[in-house]
Symmetry: C2
Subunit: 415 residues, 2 copies
């Protein structure tokens, strides 16, 4: 029995192959229509085409007077041109006024340009007395006028499906008149940590036990990546309990995430259970930390078993589970992390060729470049190695480490 587990585990799959298998099982979640004001961080399900011109009418870009540009020709501070003030158009008004030669209309920024006018002279470039406007500047036609459709023409493709909606996208959608929008459903996710050593935070410490940080860490990451946590529990390392929880959660979850219970310890039941109830896609990935990852499924529910050591679980989430969550929502950027280019501060030798290595680094600015400083590794369980660093440098499986001064890509922790 033990031997069997060991063998299964010692054949490690390259990460890309594991992801390929995983993505062959991933389907797009259904769409739902939601209010735009609730759409922050949601993933747009359809392309957005403008159904109107923006601006929807010729409008003034300045506070001043709408005029015929030719009436200002050759005007200067010394030789102003004089026209007659014949009215006012306030912002929000629609005017049927028709402007004639040598006439001006007081107009506010954003107000519609009246028929006959083709320029706006700024208030600062004029003086007014007894309804006579002195124009001190010569304007070309079109000056200070925002033409209808100048910003966005009706029919323009303005946002692509798969966009993660932030303040500026929400502003664009509302400026186009949308108050509802189609997004992809959030994947319903259950998170379990198994281990007889795990205590709930807030309870007294007991000998031989540690506090469970994985359930909440992974649940938080699920939320940050756009999923919906419907269950987060700590469970005993008991085959019967784990199996029942798995079957229960598969009934209402699209994703189930376990931490712990995937290694070669005497009580690691998960691979057995998944083999019995569902299908194992991959067990063991050539990455450090994070080798003991298992990916499987049960009916249509994806199952991820991550290592129990928090850093390994964290990194495996970023590299595997997070992509699945965003993939199910059709997100066009599967990995949301920001990438920086930096110089590595010192040589980083790598033991264990064939593994994709994740190096935690701190980023420092040095004149006009960034330096990536490797954080001293104390082990994959040490959460403070995450809170004390800024991101991760990946060392590919067949590269013998990094040379001091080498340019590297740092992927910042998700924010």
């Amino acid at each position: 029995m033990e031997k069997l587990r060991k063998i299964g585990f010692s054949r490690l799959t390259p990460l890309e192959d594991a992801l390929e298998k995983l993505f062959s099982r991933i389907q797009l979640n259904p769409m739902e229509e939601i209010e735009v004001y609730k759409s922050l961080n949601r993933i747009l399900a359809i392309d957005i085409v403008s159904e109107m011109d923006i601006p929807p009418f010729d409008r003034s870009a300045m506070d001043g007077y709408a005029i015929k540009a030719e009436d200002s020709f050759k005007a200067s501070p010394r030789k102003p041109k004089m026209i007659r003030l014949v009215g006012t158009i306030e912002i929000g008004e629609s005017s049927t006024f028709k402007l004639n030669k040598d006439e001006g209309i007081r107009i506010s920024t954003g107000a519609p340009i009246p028929e006959g006018a083709d320029a706006v002279v700024k208030i600062e470039d004029t003086e007014i007395e007894n309804n006579i406007i002195n124009i001190y500047i010569s304007l070309p036609p079109g000056k200070n006028v925002s033409k209808r459709g100048e910003d966005t023409k009706k029919g323009t493709h303005v946002l692509s499906k798969g966009t993660e909606l932030k303040a500026e996208h929400i502003a664009l959608l509302t400026s186009l008149g949308f108050n509802k929008i189609k997004v992809r459903n959030k994947p319903k996710t259950s998170v379990f940590s198994s281990g007889d050593e795990l205590l709930e935070p807030g309870t007294p410490l007991q000998p031989g036990k540690i506090y469970n940080s994985n359930t909440l860490m992974i649940s938080t990451l699920v939320k940050m990546y756009g999923g919906m946590v419907i269950r987060g529990e700590t469970i005993k390392d008991d085959k019967f309990v784990i199996k029942n929880k798995l079957i229960e959660a598969a009934g209402d979850s699209q994703i189930i995430i376990f931490t712990g219970g995937t290694s070669v310890g005497t009580k690691d039941y998960l691979p057995e259970i998944i083999n019995e109830t569902g299908t194992i896609l991959t067990h063991g990935i050539a990455q450090r930390p994070g080798a003991p990852v298992l990916i499987g499924f049960l009916n249509d529910t994806l199952i991820f078993c991550l290592p129990g050591t928090p850093v390994a679980a964290y990194v495996s989430f970023l590299k595997i589970v997070g992509l699945a969550i965003r993939g199910m929502m059709g997100c066009s950027v599967l990995d949301p992390r920001t990438e920086m280019i930096a110089e590595i501060k010192k040589d980083v030798p790598v033991s264990g060729l064939g593994y994709l290595h994740y190096l935690r680094v701190i980023i420092e600015k040095s004149e006009d470049k960034l330096i990536a400083i490797p954080v001293k590794l104390k082990g994959s369980g040490v959460i403070s190695s995450l809170t004390e660093s800024d991101g991760i440098v990946e060392i590919p499986p067949h590269q013998e480490g990094l040379k001091k001064g080498e340019k590297v890509i740092v992927k910042l922790f998700p924010r």
Copy 2:
């Protein structure tokens, strides 16, 4: 009257001076205790010191056998050392077992090391038959043992007040046994957009009108920056209405944000109203876009009047309002935007020396550096210039633009 407004507006304050005045009025919000599982994106109000050693006991870093290291000395695959299996310690158990010479105990990763043992030999480096363990490798004392307090010693300062809590901080807090944590209250914020031209999205377009995108854009930014939106409304450009709304909102808001109504148009009542009811700290800031910003207060409520043009409002939020929100929460990083170093793709001339200019750019990776490509500016109202770019390059007030190839700092849009 109009002349007065114009004068008030034409004296522009440098941004740093405006921020200094603003921050002289900002006080730290009270703290509240919340559940750690609800603390994502909240700002820690107190320093966190570990009240325990992590790990809390000497524990095995591997699955294998706890032994006395000296019993393995000189062991090799050809000449294994043999010891007796005398028991098992499971993870989560606390054992009173005392190990003697030539004895081994089966132990799982994370299980406590029994008294008398000082190393763990990996299961892969052994074979077992009839309760006799063959050890094929020589181990130094301490091998594969995580010592108590090795990761974090009791009394260690692990997180600083002002930290914005993300998954890894939440993991660290829970691993230390915390289930509740003190954070700063979210600033209660009211958001208004004023303008007779503004229509609510979802209603039919009318002549001379545009859809209001500012209320929702600013409300979304408030949420992204950690504030709590308690009121978001579109209001008419009516002095009486605006004044009443201001006074009403000042009763329950710590921050009130208006967009529109701060320029020199005929119907821009806000400066007048704030002058009558409260105090203007600054009106007019030397930045482009975003010059018409007004900062004031009414009793203890901060008031920000941002330009009505969406891009100007957006940028002013990032540079001013957002810092105030985070400042009230004691956040150690006031501006949450990620900075990148890039080379500017082409010359960028600047008209209007004396203004801090915000240049929207797209970032492209080119070999091992980043290129910042200026986005063609169509005006400060064009929201698509935000959705189509990645961030902002600031050109300081007394710099005559940028030279092609110059290194610039790009501040990515908040995410």
